[in-house]
């Protein structure tokens, strides 16, 4: 027996056709609710109900249902056998409406996630720092030729505003980073951590990157130059901003960057998946390693 879940119902089939069915209500809200459940990897109540008292071995084509039957995604049955919604009185117009609700809800949810806010914040912070440098330079020059207080005041106001926003964002990024990625924050600090997330495009994406990629995040230009034209590959990307690397002698920087990125990759994985605090152990190992490298 094959267990097939479609957007309009749950079906038990064999080679001859549909044996048993439970249809969903003909309502876009009800259908979208079920589609979201499926997306969250949950088993629907209809699915549990239909397989009750079924003695035969079930075959499924979704990993989500692997507990209830053998997972065979490439079984020819699933490819050749199609259940038409129209045969059960469902029009695809309903699917269009339901899919729109699902997509809207999921987009909203994903766009709300904290790591996307952090990316915007850290990019805003970098912009503000640039502006602040520009303004302070201008103010210095202007003051050196003795400006009138009245004329220089507006510029001073903007400068102090930019400075206070910088402090605000730094604080906010630190708070949010400690919240969503405590291990990462404790190992490299909130700002470098936030920049790593920004380069990867999200916390989850960062967690799926290998350590070797994390090591050169932010040095894409140098990396692709190396891949295209040869020469030397970059040793470090944004993690260079960490004092471990930028205060070390040149010849050790590559080695330290490698050790660090491997620990970062472990830390992020813990932040995303197990949510355990492992930074103390990681930090100990990392400090030991850096010490050994420097004593070579």
């Amino acid at each position: 027996m094959y267990l097939v879940t479609k957007w309009f119902g749950v079906f038990l089939c064999d080679e001859k056709g549909v044996k048993k069915k439970i249809l969903f209500p003909k309502d876009e809200k009800e259908i979208s609710k079920r589609l979201i459940e499926i997306d969250k990897n949950k088993v629907l109540s209809e699915e549990k109900k239909i397989i009750k008292n079924v003695k035969e071995q079930l075959v499924v084509n979704e990993k989500r249902l692997h507990r209830y039957g053998v997972y065979k995604p490439n079984d020819p049955f699933f490819i050749e056998f199609d259940i038409e919604p129209r045969d059960f009185g469902f029009s695809e117009n309903l699917l269009h409406k339901a899919a729109k609700v699902v997509a809207e809800e999921k987009t909203l949810e994903e766009l709300k996630s904290k790591d996307l806010q952090i990316i915007q914040m850290v990019n805003a912070l970098d912009d503000l720092i640039q502006v602040s440098n520009l303004l302070s330079e201008r103010l210095e020059r202007w003051k050196s030729i003795s400006a009138s207080k009245k004329k220089i005041q507006p510029l001073e106001n903007v400068f102090s505003m930019v400075d206070s926003s910088i402090k605000y964002f730094e604080k906010q990024i630190e708070d949010d980073m400690r919240d969503i990625a405590p291990n990462l924050t404790n190992i490299v600090g909130p700002l470098i951590g936030a920049r790593l997330i920004a380069f990867a495009g999200g916390l989850k994406k960062l967690s799926s990157l290998p350590a070797s990629t994390i090591q050169v995040l932010g040095a894409e230009k140098a990396l692709f130059r190396y891949k295209k034209e040869g020469g030397k590959p970059p040793k470090h990307g944004v993690i260079f901003q960490h004092p471990y690397i930028n205060t070390a002698p040149r010849k050790f920087r590559g080695k330290i960057a490698r050790a660090m990125s491997s620990k970062i990759s472990i830390a992020v994985k813990a932040d995303v998946f197990t949510k355990r605090d492992i930074f103390k152990e990681l930090k100990l190992v990392l400090d030991e390693k850096v010490k050994n490298i420097k004593n070579l």
Binding site: T5, K6, W7, L35, I38, D39, N61, E62, K63, P73, N74, F78, I79, D82, I83, E92, N93, L95, H96, A99, K100, V102, A103, E104, K106, T107, E110, L111, F224, K227, K228
Partner: protein
């Protein structure tokens, strides 16, 4: 305005057009030009904006019918999706896109189109939209991922009907920057052929896109 050999695609001078859906009369998706001809409304299809338009301008023949079901992977913000939905007026376009930012725009541009079914999912895992998509006549893919041949294969095997066709937009730069584009195309074609897909045509998208190639594949 003349019909071309491809259903739903029209031509006037050097430009190609599709006829706007009745539900979206008067509205554009990306500020394209609207032309009226014998009381029908046509939207200009810009080959510099859409790789499918570039491929058609360079001589690609695709077998869309007005009631085809199309699986569209990498829908992005809906530029090309809107024209495909113009062509398959009585069919369906499953528009799969992974980025929530792009999906937000897609919902805005194509939400009114009654034959577009938006799916926010990763094309790497076709089974996650198994309850929504089923048996399609055509698979169109434009995802610029390194493993795009693999993504294409898994989706074709799971959802494409027998005797169906598929189109794959290969961006050589995303396969491997250190390879020559020709070599990258060769790699993709080999991978598809090894999986038992037949390569019908390969067309370079020059001058509309740099280092891009469209591959038309049939599946038996």
């Amino acid at each position: 305005m003349k019909a071309t050999s491809i259903t739903g695609v029209y031509k006037e001078k050097n430009r190609i057009y599709t006829e706007n859906l009745p539900c979206c009369k008067g509205s554009t998706v990306y500020n394209e030009r609207i032309v009226y001809y014998r009381d029908r409304e046509f939207r200009s299809w810009n080959p510099y904006r859409s790789k499918l338009a570039a491929a058609i301008s360079n001589g690609l023949k695709i077998s869309f019918k007005t009631d085809s079901k199309i699986l569209y992977l990498g829908a992005a913000t809906g530029t090309t999706v809107s024209h495909v939905s113009d062509i398959v007026r009585d069919g369906w376009v499953y528009a799969v896109e992974n980025s929530p930012v792009a999906m937000k725009k897609l919902l805005y541009t194509c939400g009114k189109r009654h034959n577009v079914i938006p799916v926010l999912a990763d094309a790497n895992h076709p089974e996650r939209y198994g309850s929504i998509v089923s048996g399609v006549d055509f698979v169109y893919q434009d995802v610029s991922q390194r493993n795009q041949a693999e993504i294409f294969k898994t989706n074709v095997f799971r959802y494409l009907k027998k005797n169906g066709e598929g189109v794959l937009m290969v961006k050589a730069r995303s396969i491997d920057v250190s390879l020559k584009p020709k070599k990258a195309y060769e790699l993709v074609c080999l991978e598809l052929e090894d999986a038992g897909l037949k390569i019908e045509r390969r067309i370079d998208l020059h001058p509309y896109d740099k280092d891009h190639m469209v591959i038309l594949v049939s599946y038996f």
